[in-house]
């Protein structure tokens, strides 16, 4: 790890001013940034520790039914907040399927959104990586890439965004509140993470110095509470990133789908909202054919970026299965293995 200056501001304004110095970074819990600093991928001159900023660790329910989550709320505190988990169950399930209990106790909401890709070539300083060192190339192309992107990638970068949390959030129209040198603004979560194009080093649409202060879920997102799931396929039972994951949420009217929400994880450099697939389900009966059709639409533009063609069919099946799980109903209690297709207590089956 390189030497750096460490400062701990006590107000958002002070933090924004402090980070304006070139080479500065915000430090939340550090579960991703500190790791990247240890391996030399991140070499900040100045670390601005935001964990003591006041007022950013609260969950506030808004008039009308939405919720505002402070950027410093810890992942486990949000996932185990009973009201939150009942209102947005797929989000709680995604949180509990990510990382380990220790990491969830530390990691913050804002930090989860801003975490970097786990592409091995991004982390290996001996490898070419346009995301880490613009213009150096991409060793993932033609390398070990069976877990890389199948949607939205470019010849410059095929990395994926690793977050579970962001997948149901983007399906539920989450909004990010941001404060920066030029004041405050809001960004739809769907627009926060950038696809690589020819500038993969631009990972988000945040401007220099901007700080995520809160995350909001609108009241409408609560209308899916009875039929919302997150499903995540991993290469081991627990404590692993998704090979492919999907959030599925249905708003039912009798035996007809009024509205559907679908997003995928592990397939692109951002959480991938599948709007055409959602539209295909609106007003239809929840049949196997309808779900298969939606899954087909969700992956319509997918193409392998290497030895990962299997992920496309896998993603179709995970979408269809997540929709089936959602249709069966949100489990009364959190499954023992959240989001896992292998849980011996899958939760959904007992009410199916």
């Amino acid at each position: 790890m390189n030497r750096f200056d460490y400062i701990q501001p006590t107000s958002v304004a002070e933090a924004i001013a402090a980070v304006s110095e070139p080479g500065s970074v915000y430090l939340g819990a550090g579960t991703n940034l500190l790791d990247l600093m240890k391996i030399g991928v991140s070499r900040p001159q100045r670390v601005v520790d935001i964990t003591r900023l006041p007022g950013l660790d609260r969950i506030d329910w808004l008039p009308g039914g939405g919720v505002r989550i402070g950027a410093l709320v810890r992942n486990s505190d949000l996932a185990y907040d009973e009201h939150f988990a009942k209102t947005f169950p797929a989000v709680a399930e995604a949180l509990l399927s990510g990382a380990s209990a220790q990491l969830r106790n530390a990691a913050t909401v804002g930090g989860n959104l801003m975490q970097r890709t786990r592409c091995a070539y991004f982390q290996d300083l001996a490898s070419a990586c346009n995301r880490r060192a613009p213009g150096s190339g991409c060793d993932a192309l033609g390398g070990e890439n069976r877990l890389h992107a199948v949607l939205g990638w470019s010849g410059h970068c095929i990395a994926t965004h690793p977050s579970d949390f962001c997948v149901p959030l983007v399906a539920l129209d989450a909004v990010v509140e941001v404060e920066g040198p030029h004041g405050t603004r809001e960004i739809a979560l769907d627009s926060l993470h950038a696809l690589p194009g020819s500038t993969p080093e631009q990972e988000s649409t945040l401007a220099a110095g901007e700080l995520i202060t809160a995350l909001r879920l609108p009241a409408e997102a609560a209308s899916f509470a009875d039929n919302a799931r997150y499903l995540k396929l991993r290469e081991r039972t627990s404590y692993a990133f998704a090979v492919v994951s999907a959030a599925a949420a249905l708003e039912m009217e009798g035996d007809t789908i009024r509205t559907a929400r679908i997003a995928l994880g592990g397939v692109a450099a951002k959480p991938w909202r599948a709007r055409e697939a959602e539209a295909s389900l609106a007003g239809t009966k929840p049949t196997a054919e309808a779900f298969a059709g939606a899954a087909e639409l969700a992956l319509a533009e997918a193409r392998p970026s290497g030895a990962n063609a299997f992920k496309i069919e896998l993603a179709r099946r995970i979408v269809a299965r997540a929709l089936n799980f959602a249709l069966a109903g949100t489990p009364q209690e959190m499954p023992a293995l959240p989001a896992s297709p292998f849980s011996t207590n899958p939760g959904a089956y007992h009410v199916a």
């Binding site: 460490y6 550090g30 500190l34 220790q102 990491l103 039972t237 404590y239």
Partner: protein, 167 residues
């Protein structure tokens, strides 16, 4: 730049002068406070051997800067036993052979203490395995570990209810 922090470690107040902000909590404990119970396994938050409690919550001590912890209460494996009397989780790990080489054990035990305090596992072995998945055991003593956590949880719950009965 020098940074002064004050924290409580196993109930003892400690004032620490850091000459370098790069010091993690794990390095502070092991190298400066001579508390070598928490182990440096991967140093990347992947193995859990460095697990300690900070303000009652289990975290990976390798992934937090000591400088950020001014005022925190830290509990390590050295702070669990009461004199020669082992903490119920320590006793249960021995009773159930919850280890072989022992390297991961301080982290496993601190993680189990955190898990029991969190109270989300009930008596379901699958939930315990899932919530202990941040602690890797290279000797694969997982069966004994799961049994030890279940047993310790019952002991602690029993101790709590007998305190209630006595009151």
């Amino acid at each position: 730049m020098a940074l002064s922090i004050s924290l409580s470690v196993n109930g003892q107040p400690r004032d620490v002068e850091l000459d370098d902000p790069r010091v993690t909590l794990l390095d502070l404990l092991r190298e400066r406070l001579v508390l070598a119970g928490a182990k440096k396994g991967c140093d990347r938050g992947q193995c859990g051997a460095c697990t300690v409690l900070v303000d009652g919550r289990r975290i990976n001590s390798c992934l937090v800067l000591a400088a950020s912890l001014d005022g925190a209460e830290v509990t390590t494996i050295e702070g669990l036993a009461d004199g020669d009397t082992l903490h119920p989780v320590q006793a249960a790990f021995i009773a159930h052979d919850g280890f072989q080489c022992g390297y991961c054990t301080p982290g496993q035990i601190m993680s189990a203490v955190g898990l029991i305090a969190e109270g989300h596992a009930g008596d379901d072995p699958e939930r315990i395995r899932e919530l202990m998945s941040g602690n890797i055991c290279r000797c694969a003593a997982y069966k004994g570990i799961t049994e030890a956590v279940l047993d310790a949880q019952n002991t602690l719950a029993g101790a709590q209810s007998s305190r209630r009965d006595a009151a």
